[in-house]
Subunit: 246 residues, 2 copies
Protein backbone atom coordinates (compact mmCIF):
# COMPACT_ATOMS: atom_id res chain seq x y z
CA UNK A 1 0.00 0.00 0.00
CA UNK A 2 1.74 3.20 -1.07
CA UNK A 3 0.42 6.64 -0.17
CA UNK A 4 -1.04 7.60 -3.53
CA UNK A 5 -3.22 4.58 -4.31
CA UNK A 6 -6.70 4.38 -2.87
CA UNK A 7 -7.39 0.83 -1.89
CA UNK A 8 -9.53 -1.00 0.62
CA UNK A 9 -8.77 -4.52 1.79
CA UNK A 10 -11.81 -6.61 2.65
CA UNK A 11 -10.46 -9.20 5.03
CA UNK A 12 -11.84 -12.53 6.19
CA UNK A 13 -10.54 -13.06 9.70
CA UNK A 14 -11.67 -16.68 10.05
CA UNK A 15 -13.40 -17.89 13.21
CA UNK A 16 -11.67 -15.32 15.44
CA UNK A 17 -8.43 -16.87 16.65
CA UNK A 18 -5.25 -15.23 15.42
CA UNK A 19 -3.59 -18.50 14.39
CA UNK A 20 -6.61 -19.34 12.22
CA UNK A 21 -6.01 -16.24 10.09
CA UNK A 22 -3.76 -16.34 7.05
CA UNK A 23 -0.43 -14.55 6.99
CA UNK A 24 -1.84 -12.34 4.22
CA UNK A 25 -4.78 -11.23 6.38
CA UNK A 26 -2.53 -10.50 9.37
CA UNK A 27 -0.11 -8.50 7.21
CA UNK A 28 -2.94 -6.36 5.84
CA UNK A 29 -4.28 -5.64 9.32
CA UNK A 30 -0.78 -4.91 10.64
CA UNK A 31 -0.32 -2.25 7.95
CA UNK A 32 -3.79 -0.71 8.18
CA UNK A 33 -4.35 2.79 9.58
CA UNK A 34 -7.97 2.01 10.29
CA UNK A 35 -9.82 -1.27 10.86
CA UNK A 36 -13.55 -1.15 10.18
CA UNK A 37 -15.76 -3.88 11.61
CA UNK A 38 -17.39 -5.00 14.81
CA UNK A 39 -15.11 -4.16 17.69
CA UNK A 40 -16.06 -7.54 19.17
CA UNK A 41 -14.19 -9.21 16.30
CA UNK A 42 -11.07 -7.12 16.79
CA UNK A 43 -11.21 -7.81 20.52
CA UNK A 44 -11.20 -11.54 19.75
CA UNK A 45 -7.74 -11.16 18.24
CA UNK A 46 -6.34 -9.94 21.55
CA UNK A 47 -3.45 -7.56 21.99
CA UNK A 48 -2.03 -7.60 18.49
CA UNK A 49 -4.37 -4.88 17.21
CA UNK A 50 -5.23 -3.31 20.55
CA UNK A 51 -3.75 0.07 19.61
CA UNK A 52 -5.41 0.31 16.18
CA UNK A 53 -8.04 2.88 15.34
CA UNK A 54 -11.32 1.09 14.69
CA UNK A 55 -14.74 2.08 13.44
CA UNK A 56 -18.01 0.22 13.65
CA UNK A 57 -21.71 0.73 13.07
CA UNK A 58 -24.63 -1.14 14.65
CA UNK A 59 -26.15 -4.16 12.89
CA UNK A 60 -28.30 -3.30 9.84
CA UNK A 61 -26.22 -0.22 9.09
CA UNK A 62 -23.89 -2.13 6.81
CA UNK A 63 -24.18 0.37 3.97
CA UNK A 64 -23.04 3.23 6.22
CA UNK A 65 -20.08 1.14 7.32
CA UNK A 66 -19.13 0.44 3.69
CA UNK A 67 -19.43 4.09 2.61
CA UNK A 68 -17.29 5.15 5.56
CA UNK A 69 -14.52 2.86 4.24
CA UNK A 70 -14.64 4.53 0.83
CA UNK A 71 -14.63 8.04 2.32
CA UNK A 72 -11.61 7.20 4.47
CA UNK A 73 -9.75 5.57 1.58
CA UNK A 74 -10.29 8.72 -0.49
CA UNK A 75 -8.58 10.68 2.27
CA UNK A 76 -5.52 8.49 1.77
CA UNK A 77 -5.98 6.22 4.76
CA UNK A 78 -5.10 2.54 4.65
CA UNK A 79 -8.43 0.90 5.37
CA UNK A 80 -9.13 -2.74 6.19
CA UNK A 81 -12.74 -3.88 6.50
CA UNK A 82 -12.96 -7.10 8.49
CA UNK A 83 -15.65 -9.78 8.46
CA UNK A 84 -15.72 -12.95 10.53
CA UNK A 85 -15.09 -16.14 8.54
CA UNK A 86 -14.71 -15.16 4.89
CA UNK A 87 -15.83 -11.73 3.64
CA UNK A 88 -17.28 -13.30 0.48
CA UNK A 89 -19.51 -15.85 2.28
CA UNK A 90 -22.46 -13.89 3.73
CA UNK A 91 -19.99 -11.07 4.42
CA UNK A 92 -19.66 -7.55 3.06
CA UNK A 93 -17.61 -8.27 -0.09
CA UNK A 94 -20.53 -8.10 -2.51
CA UNK A 95 -22.04 -4.99 -0.92
CA UNK A 96 -18.63 -3.28 -1.11
CA UNK A 97 -18.32 -4.20 -4.80
CA UNK A 98 -21.84 -2.89 -5.47
CA UNK A 99 -21.24 0.40 -3.62
CA UNK A 100 -17.78 0.58 -5.16
CA UNK A 101 -19.34 1.40 -8.51
CA UNK A 102 -19.84 4.91 -7.04
CA UNK A 103 -16.12 5.11 -6.17
CA UNK A 104 -14.28 4.03 -9.34
CA UNK A 105 -11.03 5.58 -8.05
CA UNK A 106 -10.88 3.20 -5.08
CA UNK A 107 -9.51 -0.30 -5.65
CA UNK A 108 -10.89 -3.25 -3.69
CA UNK A 109 -8.95 -6.38 -2.76
CA UNK A 110 -10.60 -9.30 -1.05
CA UNK A 111 -8.41 -11.36 1.30
CA UNK A 112 -9.96 -14.79 1.86
CA UNK A 113 -10.49 -16.36 5.27
CA UNK A 114 -11.64 -19.68 6.74
CA UNK A 115 -15.44 -19.81 6.62
CA UNK A 116 -17.48 -21.67 9.25
CA UNK A 117 -18.44 -24.51 6.87
CA UNK A 118 -14.74 -25.40 6.68
CA UNK A 119 -13.63 -24.65 10.26
CA UNK A 120 -16.72 -26.29 11.73
CA UNK A 121 -16.26 -29.35 9.51
CA UNK A 122 -12.68 -29.75 10.78
CA UNK A 123 -13.93 -29.80 14.38
CA UNK A 124 -16.67 -32.33 13.63
CA UNK A 125 -14.67 -34.67 11.43
CA UNK A 126 -15.14 -34.57 7.67
CA UNK A 127 -18.83 -33.88 6.96
CA UNK A 128 -18.32 -31.82 3.76
CA UNK A 129 -15.88 -34.19 2.14
CA UNK A 130 -18.26 -34.57 -0.81
CA UNK A 131 -20.61 -32.22 -2.72
CA UNK A 132 -22.28 -29.77 -0.35
CA UNK A 133 -24.57 -26.75 -0.14
CA UNK A 134 -24.34 -23.75 2.14
CA UNK A 135 -27.66 -22.10 3.03
CA UNK A 136 -28.36 -19.24 5.43
CA UNK A 137 -31.66 -19.51 7.31
CA UNK A 138 -31.78 -15.75 7.91
CA UNK A 139 -34.76 -14.22 6.11
CA UNK A 140 -33.71 -10.63 6.74
CA UNK A 141 -32.37 -10.22 3.19
CA UNK A 142 -33.88 -13.31 1.53
CA UNK A 143 -37.52 -14.34 1.05
CA UNK A 144 -38.51 -17.28 3.22
CA UNK A 145 -39.93 -18.98 0.10
CA UNK A 146 -36.51 -18.86 -1.58
CA UNK A 147 -34.86 -20.43 1.47
CA UNK A 148 -37.49 -23.18 1.56
CA UNK A 149 -37.04 -23.88 -2.15
CA UNK A 150 -33.28 -24.22 -1.64
CA UNK A 151 -33.67 -26.57 1.32
CA UNK A 152 -35.92 -28.83 -0.78
CA UNK A 153 -33.55 -28.74 -3.77
CA UNK A 154 -30.53 -29.49 -1.58
CA UNK A 155 -32.26 -32.49 -0.02
CA UNK A 156 -33.44 -33.75 -3.39
CA UNK A 157 -29.88 -33.51 -4.72
CA UNK A 158 -28.56 -35.53 -1.74
CA UNK A 159 -26.13 -32.76 -0.88
CA UNK A 160 -24.51 -32.41 2.49
CA UNK A 161 -26.16 -29.22 3.79
CA UNK A 162 -24.45 -26.60 5.94
CA UNK A 163 -26.77 -24.08 7.60
CA UNK A 164 -25.53 -20.62 8.62
CA UNK A 165 -27.52 -18.33 10.94
CA UNK A 166 -29.87 -21.16 11.91
CA UNK A 167 -31.85 -18.97 14.25
CA UNK A 168 -31.63 -16.01 16.61
CA UNK A 169 -33.58 -14.55 19.53
CA UNK A 170 -36.00 -12.93 17.07
CA UNK A 171 -36.08 -15.85 14.64
CA UNK A 172 -37.16 -18.89 16.67
CA UNK A 173 -38.20 -22.24 15.24
CA UNK A 174 -36.34 -21.73 11.97
CA UNK A 175 -34.01 -24.69 12.44
CA UNK A 176 -36.90 -26.99 13.35
CA UNK A 177 -38.79 -25.97 10.24
CA UNK A 178 -35.72 -26.48 8.02
CA UNK A 179 -35.15 -29.93 9.53
CA UNK A 180 -38.76 -30.88 8.87
CA UNK A 181 -38.46 -29.88 5.21
CA UNK A 182 -35.26 -31.88 4.75
CA UNK A 183 -36.65 -34.86 6.66
CA UNK A 184 -39.34 -35.34 4.02
CA UNK A 185 -36.57 -36.45 1.66
CA UNK A 186 -33.76 -37.56 3.97
CA UNK A 187 -35.74 -39.32 6.72
CA UNK A 188 -35.40 -38.83 10.49
CA UNK A 189 -32.19 -40.82 11.01
CA UNK A 190 -29.86 -38.83 8.76
CA UNK A 191 -26.50 -38.17 10.48
CA UNK A 192 -26.07 -34.54 11.54
CA UNK A 193 -23.82 -32.34 13.65
CA UNK A 194 -23.38 -28.80 14.87
CA UNK A 195 -20.63 -26.53 16.13
CA UNK A 196 -20.84 -23.40 18.26
CA UNK A 197 -18.27 -20.63 18.81
CA UNK A 198 -15.67 -22.21 16.53
CA UNK A 199 -12.14 -21.16 17.46
CA UNK A 200 -13.39 -19.11 20.42
CA UNK A 201 -13.73 -19.65 24.13
CA UNK A 202 -16.44 -22.18 24.92
CA UNK A 203 -16.33 -24.07 21.60
CA UNK A 204 -19.00 -26.79 21.52
CA UNK A 205 -19.75 -29.56 19.02
CA UNK A 206 -22.31 -32.32 18.84
CA UNK A 207 -23.58 -35.08 16.60
CA UNK A 208 -27.17 -36.32 16.38
CA UNK A 209 -29.89 -37.53 14.05
CA UNK A 210 -31.87 -35.14 11.87
CA UNK A 211 -34.90 -35.65 14.13
CA UNK A 212 -32.81 -34.72 17.20
CA UNK A 213 -31.30 -31.72 15.41
CA UNK A 214 -34.72 -30.00 15.45
CA UNK A 215 -34.35 -29.34 19.16
CA UNK A 216 -30.68 -28.34 19.35
CA UNK A 217 -30.60 -24.86 20.96
CA UNK A 218 -28.95 -23.18 17.96
CA UNK A 219 -28.14 -19.47 17.77
CA UNK A 220 -26.27 -17.09 15.45
CA UNK A 221 -22.94 -18.57 16.58
CA UNK A 222 -24.03 -22.09 15.60
CA UNK A 223 -23.20 -23.79 12.31
CA UNK A 224 -25.29 -26.85 11.44
CA UNK A 225 -24.28 -29.83 9.28
CA UNK A 226 -26.83 -32.24 7.77
CA UNK A 227 -25.25 -35.27 6.16
CA UNK A 228 -26.00 -36.89 2.82
CA UNK A 229 -26.93 -40.56 2.37
CA UNK A 230 -23.24 -41.53 2.79
CA UNK A 231 -22.62 -39.64 6.03
CA UNK A 232 -22.11 -41.54 9.28
CA UNK A 233 -21.21 -40.89 12.90
CA UNK A 234 -18.29 -42.85 14.40
CA UNK A 235 -16.43 -42.11 17.61
CA UNK A 236 -18.34 -38.86 17.99
CA UNK A 237 -17.27 -37.65 14.57
CA UNK A 238 -19.38 -36.83 11.52
CA UNK A 239 -17.88 -38.22 8.32
CA UNK A 240 -19.08 -38.20 4.71
CA UNK A 241 -17.60 -41.00 2.62
CA UNK A 242 -15.96 -39.86 -0.58
CA UNK A 243 -16.36 -43.18 -2.33
CA UNK A 244 -13.17 -45.09 -1.55
CA UNK A 245 -13.70 -48.78 -0.83
CA UNK A 246 -12.09 -49.09 2.58
CA UNK B 1 2.92 -32.93 20.16
CA UNK B 2 4.72 -34.74 22.98
CA UNK B 3 6.66 -37.94 22.44
CA UNK B 4 4.20 -40.41 23.90
CA UNK B 5 0.98 -39.43 22.12
CA UNK B 6 0.28 -40.79 18.68
CA UNK B 7 -1.33 -38.11 16.60
CA UNK B 8 -1.58 -37.19 12.94
CA UNK B 9 -2.38 -33.67 11.76
CA UNK B 10 -4.34 -33.50 8.51
CA UNK B 11 -3.52 -30.07 7.16
CA UNK B 12 -5.20 -27.89 4.55
CA UNK B 13 -2.45 -25.82 2.95
CA UNK B 14 -4.74 -23.52 0.99
CA UNK B 15 -4.00 -22.69 -2.64
CA UNK B 16 -0.24 -23.16 -2.27
CA UNK B 17 1.21 -19.81 -1.22
CA UNK B 18 2.73 -19.68 2.25
CA UNK B 19 0.94 -16.45 3.21
CA UNK B 20 -2.40 -18.03 2.35
CA UNK B 21 -1.88 -20.70 5.00
CA UNK B 22 -3.02 -20.18 8.57
CA UNK B 23 -0.54 -19.77 11.41
CA UNK B 24 -1.88 -23.01 12.87
CA UNK B 25 -1.11 -24.95 9.68
CA UNK B 26 2.41 -23.49 9.42
CA UNK B 27 3.12 -24.29 13.08
CA UNK B 28 2.06 -27.91 12.60
CA UNK B 29 4.27 -28.31 9.53
CA UNK B 30 7.20 -26.61 11.28
CA UNK B 31 7.01 -29.13 14.09
CA UNK B 32 6.45 -32.24 11.95
CA UNK B 33 9.11 -34.92 11.55
CA UNK B 34 7.51 -36.12 8.34
CA UNK B 35 5.24 -34.41 5.82
CA UNK B 36 3.12 -36.77 3.72
CA UNK B 37 1.57 -35.45 0.51
CA UNK B 38 2.43 -34.62 -3.07
CA UNK B 39 5.95 -33.26 -3.16
CA UNK B 40 4.68 -30.73 -5.72
CA UNK B 41 2.60 -29.12 -2.96
CA UNK B 42 5.53 -28.93 -0.55
CA UNK B 43 7.67 -27.47 -3.32
CA UNK B 44 5.07 -24.72 -3.80
CA UNK B 45 5.79 -23.50 -0.29
CA UNK B 46 9.41 -22.79 -1.19
CA UNK B 47 12.39 -22.98 1.14
CA UNK B 48 10.59 -23.07 4.45
CA UNK B 49 10.13 -26.85 4.40
CA UNK B 50 12.95 -27.69 1.99
CA UNK B 51 14.84 -29.77 4.56
CA UNK B 52 11.84 -31.80 5.74
CA UNK B 53 11.48 -35.50 5.15
CA UNK B 54 8.53 -36.10 2.85
CA UNK B 55 6.65 -39.11 1.58
CA UNK B 56 4.25 -39.42 -1.33
CA UNK B 57 2.47 -42.04 -3.38
CA UNK B 58 1.18 -41.77 -6.94
CA UNK B 59 -2.42 -40.70 -7.62
CA UNK B 60 -5.04 -43.36 -6.83
CA UNK B 61 -2.89 -44.84 -4.08
CA UNK B 62 -4.48 -42.64 -1.44
CA UNK B 63 -5.19 -45.53 0.91
CA UNK B 64 -1.52 -46.54 0.95
CA UNK B 65 -0.58 -42.96 1.74
CA UNK B 66 -3.04 -42.85 4.63
CA UNK B 67 -1.90 -46.16 6.11
CA UNK B 68 1.71 -45.02 5.89
CA UNK B 69 0.78 -42.04 8.08
CA UNK B 70 -0.71 -44.33 10.73
CA UNK B 71 2.28 -46.69 10.66
CA UNK B 72 4.70 -43.79 11.10
CA UNK B 73 2.62 -42.24 13.90
CA UNK B 74 2.71 -45.58 15.73
CA UNK B 75 6.50 -45.43 15.57
CA UNK B 76 6.31 -42.16 17.46
CA UNK B 77 6.94 -39.81 14.54
CA UNK B 78 5.21 -36.44 14.27
CA UNK B 79 3.28 -36.81 11.03
CA UNK B 80 1.49 -34.10 9.03
CA UNK B 81 -0.56 -35.14 6.01
CA UNK B 82 -1.09 -32.19 3.68
CA UNK B 83 -3.81 -31.59 1.13
CA UNK B 84 -4.19 -28.57 -1.15
CA UNK B 85 -7.05 -26.25 -0.23
CA UNK B 86 -8.86 -27.77 2.73
CA UNK B 87 -8.34 -31.42 3.70
CA UNK B 88 -12.06 -31.83 4.38
CA UNK B 89 -13.25 -30.59 0.96
CA UNK B 90 -12.50 -33.39 -1.54
CA UNK B 91 -9.33 -34.05 0.47
CA UNK B 92 -8.16 -37.01 2.55
CA UNK B 93 -9.80 -36.12 5.88
CA UNK B 94 -12.75 -38.52 5.50
CA UNK B 95 -10.58 -41.39 4.23
CA UNK B 96 -8.22 -40.89 7.18
CA UNK B 97 -11.14 -40.98 9.61
CA UNK B 98 -12.48 -44.15 7.96
CA UNK B 99 -9.11 -45.92 8.01
CA UNK B 100 -8.50 -44.52 11.50
CA UNK B 101 -11.08 -46.95 12.87
CA UNK B 102 -8.33 -49.59 12.47
CA UNK B 103 -5.92 -47.46 14.53
CA UNK B 104 -7.88 -46.41 17.64
CA UNK B 105 -4.64 -45.51 19.46
CA UNK B 106 -3.82 -42.75 16.94
CA UNK B 107 -5.54 -39.37 17.34
CA UNK B 108 -6.44 -37.30 14.29
CA UNK B 109 -6.65 -33.52 14.18
CA UNK B 110 -7.86 -31.67 11.12
CA UNK B 111 -6.37 -28.23 10.51
CA UNK B 112 -8.59 -26.23 8.15
CA UNK B 113 -7.34 -24.37 5.08
CA UNK B 114 -8.69 -22.02 2.42
CA UNK B 115 -10.58 -24.07 -0.17
CA UNK B 116 -10.72 -23.03 -3.84
CA UNK B 117 -14.38 -21.96 -3.67
CA UNK B 118 -13.33 -19.25 -1.21
CA UNK B 119 -9.92 -18.27 -2.63
CA UNK B 120 -11.23 -18.29 -6.20
CA UNK B 121 -14.24 -16.23 -5.20
CA UNK B 122 -11.96 -13.59 -3.67
CA UNK B 123 -10.07 -13.31 -6.95
CA UNK B 124 -13.23 -13.02 -9.04
CA UNK B 125 -15.16 -10.63 -6.80
CA UNK B 126 -17.93 -11.98 -4.59
CA UNK B 127 -19.71 -14.76 -6.48
CA UNK B 128 -20.54 -16.96 -3.45
CA UNK B 129 -21.90 -14.16 -1.30
CA UNK B 130 -25.24 -15.97 -1.07
CA UNK B 131 -26.33 -19.63 -0.80
CA UNK B 132 -24.08 -21.86 -2.89
CA UNK B 133 -23.31 -25.47 -3.82
CA UNK B 134 -19.95 -27.08 -4.39
CA UNK B 135 -19.92 -30.00 -6.85
CA UNK B 136 -16.99 -32.01 -8.19
CA UNK B 137 -17.35 -33.13 -11.81
CA UNK B 138 -14.90 -35.99 -11.30
CA UNK B 139 -16.65 -39.33 -11.75
CA UNK B 140 -13.74 -41.41 -10.49
CA UNK B 141 -15.35 -41.92 -7.08
CA UNK B 142 -18.93 -40.77 -7.84
CA UNK B 143 -21.48 -42.11 -10.31
CA UNK B 144 -22.07 -39.77 -13.25
CA UNK B 145 -25.83 -40.05 -12.60
CA UNK B 146 -25.37 -38.68 -9.06
CA UNK B 147 -23.38 -35.72 -10.37
CA UNK B 148 -26.04 -35.01 -12.99
CA UNK B 149 -28.80 -35.18 -10.38
CA UNK B 150 -26.93 -32.69 -8.21
CA UNK B 151 -26.35 -30.28 -11.06
CA UNK B 152 -30.09 -30.29 -11.82
CA UNK B 153 -31.04 -29.82 -8.17
CA UNK B 154 -28.55 -26.98 -7.72
CA UNK B 155 -29.92 -25.17 -10.76
CA UNK B 156 -33.51 -25.73 -9.67
CA UNK B 157 -32.67 -24.28 -6.24
CA UNK B 158 -31.12 -21.17 -7.87
CA UNK B 159 -27.88 -21.79 -6.01
CA UNK B 160 -24.59 -20.27 -7.04
CA UNK B 161 -22.67 -23.35 -8.21
CA UNK B 162 -18.94 -23.90 -7.76
CA UNK B 163 -17.45 -26.73 -9.81
CA UNK B 164 -14.25 -28.48 -8.72
CA UNK B 165 -12.27 -30.80 -11.03
CA UNK B 166 -14.26 -29.61 -14.07
CA UNK B 167 -12.31 -31.84 -16.43
CA UNK B 168 -8.93 -33.40 -17.08
CA UNK B 169 -7.00 -34.86 -19.98
CA UNK B 170 -8.88 -38.13 -19.59
CA UNK B 171 -12.25 -36.52 -18.81
CA UNK B 172 -13.01 -34.18 -21.71
CA UNK B 173 -16.34 -32.50 -22.39
CA UNK B 174 -17.47 -32.74 -18.75
CA UNK B 175 -17.73 -28.99 -18.23
CA UNK B 176 -19.70 -28.54 -21.46
CA UNK B 177 -22.16 -31.22 -20.42
CA UNK B 178 -22.58 -29.71 -16.96
CA UNK B 179 -23.19 -26.26 -18.47
CA UNK B 180 -25.83 -27.69 -20.79
CA UNK B 181 -27.69 -29.29 -17.88
CA UNK B 182 -27.65 -26.06 -15.88
CA UNK B 183 -28.60 -23.97 -18.91
CA UNK B 184 -31.94 -25.80 -19.13
CA UNK B 185 -32.93 -24.00 -15.93
CA UNK B 186 -30.66 -20.96 -15.83
CA UNK B 187 -30.64 -19.94 -19.48
CA UNK B 188 -27.60 -19.15 -21.64
CA UNK B 189 -26.87 -15.65 -20.28
CA UNK B 190 -26.27 -16.52 -16.64
CA UNK B 191 -23.16 -14.72 -15.30
CA UNK B 192 -20.20 -17.05 -14.76
CA UNK B 193 -16.49 -16.98 -14.03
CA UNK B 194 -13.48 -19.20 -13.59
CA UNK B 195 -10.09 -19.13 -11.92
CA UNK B 196 -6.97 -21.14 -12.65
CA UNK B 197 -3.88 -21.75 -10.50
CA UNK B 198 -5.14 -19.66 -7.58
CA UNK B 199 -2.29 -18.27 -5.48
CA UNK B 200 0.33 -19.80 -7.78
CA UNK B 201 2.46 -18.59 -10.67
CA UNK B 202 0.33 -17.89 -13.74
CA UNK B 203 -2.96 -17.23 -11.94
CA UNK B 204 -5.74 -16.58 -14.44
CA UNK B 205 -9.36 -15.49 -14.03
CA UNK B 206 -12.18 -14.78 -16.44
CA UNK B 207 -15.87 -13.90 -16.54
CA UNK B 208 -18.35 -14.98 -19.21
CA UNK B 209 -21.89 -16.16 -19.85
CA UNK B 210 -22.97 -19.72 -19.14
CA UNK B 211 -23.08 -20.40 -22.90
CA UNK B 212 -19.47 -19.17 -23.27
CA UNK B 213 -18.35 -21.16 -20.22
CA UNK B 214 -18.93 -24.41 -22.18
CA UNK B 215 -15.81 -23.73 -24.21
CA UNK B 216 -13.46 -22.44 -21.52
CA UNK B 217 -10.36 -24.71 -21.62
CA UNK B 218 -10.75 -25.91 -18.03
CA UNK B 219 -8.46 -28.42 -16.35
CA UNK B 220 -7.88 -29.88 -12.88
CA UNK B 221 -6.39 -26.56 -11.70
CA UNK B 222 -9.54 -24.66 -12.73
CA UNK B 223 -12.39 -23.73 -10.41
CA UNK B 224 -15.64 -22.71 -12.10
CA UNK B 225 -18.34 -20.38 -10.75
CA UNK B 226 -21.89 -20.29 -12.14
CA UNK B 227 -23.97 -17.44 -10.77
CA UNK B 228 -27.53 -17.48 -9.49
CA UNK B 229 -30.31 -15.23 -10.82
CA UNK B 230 -28.87 -12.29 -8.80
CA UNK B 231 -25.29 -12.59 -10.02
CA UNK B 232 -23.87 -9.94 -12.34
CA UNK B 233 -20.58 -8.99 -13.96
CA UNK B 234 -19.30 -5.44 -13.45
CA UNK B 235 -15.81 -4.12 -14.12
CA UNK B 236 -14.61 -7.64 -14.84
CA UNK B 237 -15.82 -8.92 -11.48
CA UNK B 238 -18.43 -11.54 -10.69
CA UNK B 239 -20.76 -10.45 -7.88
CA UNK B 240 -23.81 -12.09 -6.30
CA UNK B 241 -26.12 -9.63 -4.59
CA UNK B 242 -26.99 -10.45 -1.02
CA UNK B 243 -30.22 -8.51 -1.03
CA UNK B 244 -29.29 -5.04 0.18
CA UNK B 245 -31.09 -2.23 -1.64
CA UNK B 246 -28.16 -0.18 -2.88
Amino acid sequence: MCGSEKKIYIVGMGPGREDMMTGQALAVLDRADLIVGYTAYIRLLGDRFAGKETFSTPMRQEQDRCRYCFAQAREGRRVALICSGDAGVYGLASLMLEIGEDYPDVELEIVPGITAAVSGAALLGAPINHDFCVISLSDQLTDAAVIERRLRAAAEGDFVIVLYNPQSRTRRGYLKKACQIIEQTAGPDRACGWTRCIGREGTQTGTCTLRELQDVPADMFTTVFIGNASTFIAGGRLVTRRGYHV
